[in-house]
């Protein structure tokens, strides 16, 4: 009997599911499925799960449960989201999103293999390509005025709804989410704001006029819809995204993932306004048993202090805001901050906010099937930081959130043609 392993589609966008099946196995045999990927720096990420073939010698990941390994139960994309770095504290992040995919090797071993170096070769292997930009998506390097980033345009004439994509204290330019969103029909500007090209090396203040320039640039582009744009933002980026929603009229739809509703660590400036930051109390940090540091309580303590001058005036936001909260966020007390913002909206009679809270999800909520990054090295603090998250819950959160984000932007950005 010939061992066969199929993965369909074998080449797809990273946010598309893959159907994995194995046939030609000995009936009822317990086998190992292993996924391996080398990132652009050569770091190895792997996952494995143990399945039992049925009487016909088949395994179908869409129906059959993993018995053990990196996940347990029926999780058709489990091999993707449970991949872990072989060297601790590394985060999987695609840098070149246009020219190459992540190549994942799926190996099937006809026994239970859980050692890092399998002593037997796999019986059959299959390669799967995961792309971060769809056919026809264009990337344009942006150096307009002070604005630094990359604009991703869907194929076609447009105009397309425009979105600014902001990451956090990782700095530099992170493009993979912008390119994936562009592949779903949005014009997305991945915007850098520090540690990139001639931008400041360190974030010493948030100059909202820089982000206003970026918004104006986007709205002036011939392929981008007017009059309003959206913002998708995570972590420190979400604090900035929320500030943009408060102060910039052009921002009509903002997604804030695991951010604070206060100005934190560095001041916020917008024209004459200077909003002083609240400083996290690092003495409340906790060292996780891995040695990585959880910062959640440092920010949590901020909630006990009444620091109105640092709180962002969400009631001033004219557009819609969607707060996405991972309840197992070990970096910040995400839920508490989002609830404070929602309370503030309500107390001002505003119904512009909505919160989606996900039990078990951690800080780094990414597009679907991205491996849970539970901890990684944080350059600013020069130590490993715990982001948190329970793998299964985090994975299903990422799937659900991605759909909600696109629904949100389509609802509030796309012009309905019968509007007069």
């Amino acid at each position: 009997k010939m061992f066969q392993l199929t993965a369909t589609p074998s080449s797809a966008l990273a946010d598309e599911p893959v159907a994995i099946r194995a046939t030609g196995l000995p009936p009822s045999k317990v086998v190992t499925l292993q996924a391996s990927l080398k990132d652009e720096k050569g770091n190895l990420f792997q996952s494995r799960a143990f399945y039992r073939a049925n009487k016909a010698g088949e395994i179908d990941l869409e129906q059959d449960p993993a018995l053990g390994g990196d996940y347990v139960g029926v999780h058709s994309m489990g091999l993707f989201w449970s991949m872990k770095p072989t060297v601790a504290f590394q985060r999987l992040l695609k840098r070149d999103v246009m020219n190459s995919p992540f190549c994942i090797t799926l190996d099937l071993y006809d026994s239970v293999c859980f050692k890092d170096s399998a002593t037997v070769p796999p019986r059959v292997s299959q390669m799967v390509q995961r792309w971060f930009s769809g056919p026809g998506v264009q990337r344009k390097q942006i150096r307009e005025g002070r604005v630094r980033g990359a604009l991703f345009l869907p194929p076609g004439e447009g105009p397309f709804p425009g979105i600014i994509d902001l990451f956090g204290n990782i700095g530099g330019l992170v493009e993979f989410r912008a390119s994936l969103l562009a592949s779903s029909g949005f014009a997305v500007l991945a915007l850098a704001y520090f540690a990139y090209e001639d931008l400041p090396e360190k974030l010493l203040e948030v100059d909202l006029e820089y982000f206003e320039e970026a918004a104006s640039f986007l709205l002036s582009h011939p392929k981008i819809q007017r009059p309003g744009i959206g913002v998708i933002s995570v972590s420190k980026g979400a604090e900035i995204g929320l500030a943009m929603a408060c102060y910039l009229k052009q921002v009509v739809a903002t997604v804030c993932i695991n951010g604070c509703n206060m100005v934190v660590e560095v001041p916020l400036r917008y024209r004459d306004l200077v909003v002083p930051p609240i400083l996290p109390a690092l003495e409340y940090s906790q060292v996780h048993m891995s040695g990585a540091v959880s910062l959640q309580r440092c920010f949590g303590e901020l909630l006990n202090k009444s620091n109105h001058q640092s709180v962002l005036p969400v009631e001033k936001a004219e557009g819609k805001i969607l707060f996405i909260v991972g309840e197992n966020d070990e970096c910040i007390h995400s839920r508490a901050f989002a609830e404070r913002a929602m309370d503030q909206l309500r107390s001002h009679g505003r119904s512009t906010g909505r919160m989606l809270a996900y039990p078990g999800a951690g800080h780094l909520i990414e597009p679907p099937y991205a491996p849970l990054c539970f901890w990684s090295w944080q350059h600013k603090l020069a130590c490993p930081v715990v982001w948190g998250g329970d793998p299964v819950a985090h994975a299903s959160t990422q799937e659900h959130v991605w759909g909600e984000i696109q629904k949100f932007f389509r609802q509030h950005l796309v012009k309905t043609t019968n509007k007069l």
Binding site: V72, D116, L282, S285, Q286, R297
Partner: protein, 420 residues
Amino acid sequence: MAQLTAAPLSALVDEPVHIRATGLTPSQLVCLRASLSDEKGNLFYSQAYYKASDTGEVDLEKDPSLGGDFVGVHPMGLFWSLKPETPLKRLMKRDVMNSPFQIQLKLCDPDVPITNRDSSTLTASLTLERWYVAPGVTRIEVKEGRLRGALFLPPGDNHFPGVIDLFGSGGGLIEFRAGLLASRGFATLALAYWGYDDLPRQLREVDIEYFEEAVNFLLRHPKVLGPGVGILSICKGAEIGLSMAINLKQISATVLINGPNFVISNPHVYRGEVSQPTPYSIELISSNALGFVAFHRVYEQTGDVDSQYFFPIEKAQGHFLFIVGEEDKNINSKCYAQQAIEQLRRNGKENWTLLSYPGAGHLIEPPYSPLCYASRIPYVHPNILWGGDVIPHAAAQEHSWKEIQKFLREHLISTRTSQL
């Protein structure tokens, strides 16, 4: 002038230390750091943040840590929260006679961010000695017949109750617990059974006659009180300890820490009778978000449920103390202790005590030992998850050590007086 005091400066590892800082400004925020270098030069660190009182003092017996490696009032927290600089290293003293562990305690300004570098201003420091043997304890290399180990004798001319100390995990000769137990008045034989001297390099079978030789050796010794001996055992050692207690009449008291009530991996042999190892399902292992592997489900279909595999514990004549860490992720300890106890009950026997500790993991060691949450052992997959939550695990270690000594005294000493 800021001052740091700790008393006693030199003590046994199972003795608490009272740490205080004085001469601070009122409400001053300080950091207390502990560091240790083991015999191979591996570094271990811990830290905690405290706020001085109105009188400029910090007293670890009364004041709560705000953050760091532990939170709350934990006078010995700096000891049991020590973490390896190189992940997964386990702290274990090899030479117990000639040198203590030296712990550097430092009082410093809070280091922001948290790093292990000694970059913060050093205000005061001192060195503590933590010994595994009391003054006057003697160590005798044991190389009689097949026996390989080390006998630790308390000081003095008396007779002492005899105990055999058995570890599991990686084989070799582990002496630290035996040295401590001898310091508390027991003649303790740290017994190796594989991976040491001319013993088998790998464990092939458990020959109970080897352990019977050890029992006879101990009882023959002029300083050992008879007529029975005790066993202090953990993990694989506890599996063997249980087998010994059943087959050897001279076992009066057996402490079983996180052990199975059935044969694991290697057959037990005693005078021609062979007990085969219990079948297991290796595919039921699972990795957590950090990539550490839990083995506690592999006997789910056999040893967890089927009494055909259970040791005939009702045949044992001595007393049992079961010590269970309920968060043990290596073996299903709680289930196995309950099965063994149920079997004793059904046979009308009451010769047992159970101490079950919520939050404690697999490696329950003497008090103030750092929680080893995961580590590597030879011949097995790296990154084995032992489990345990730091604070309850520390409490379990403190409580169980006292109970172990009480139990051994009760069942090893009283029998003698009843024979007069």
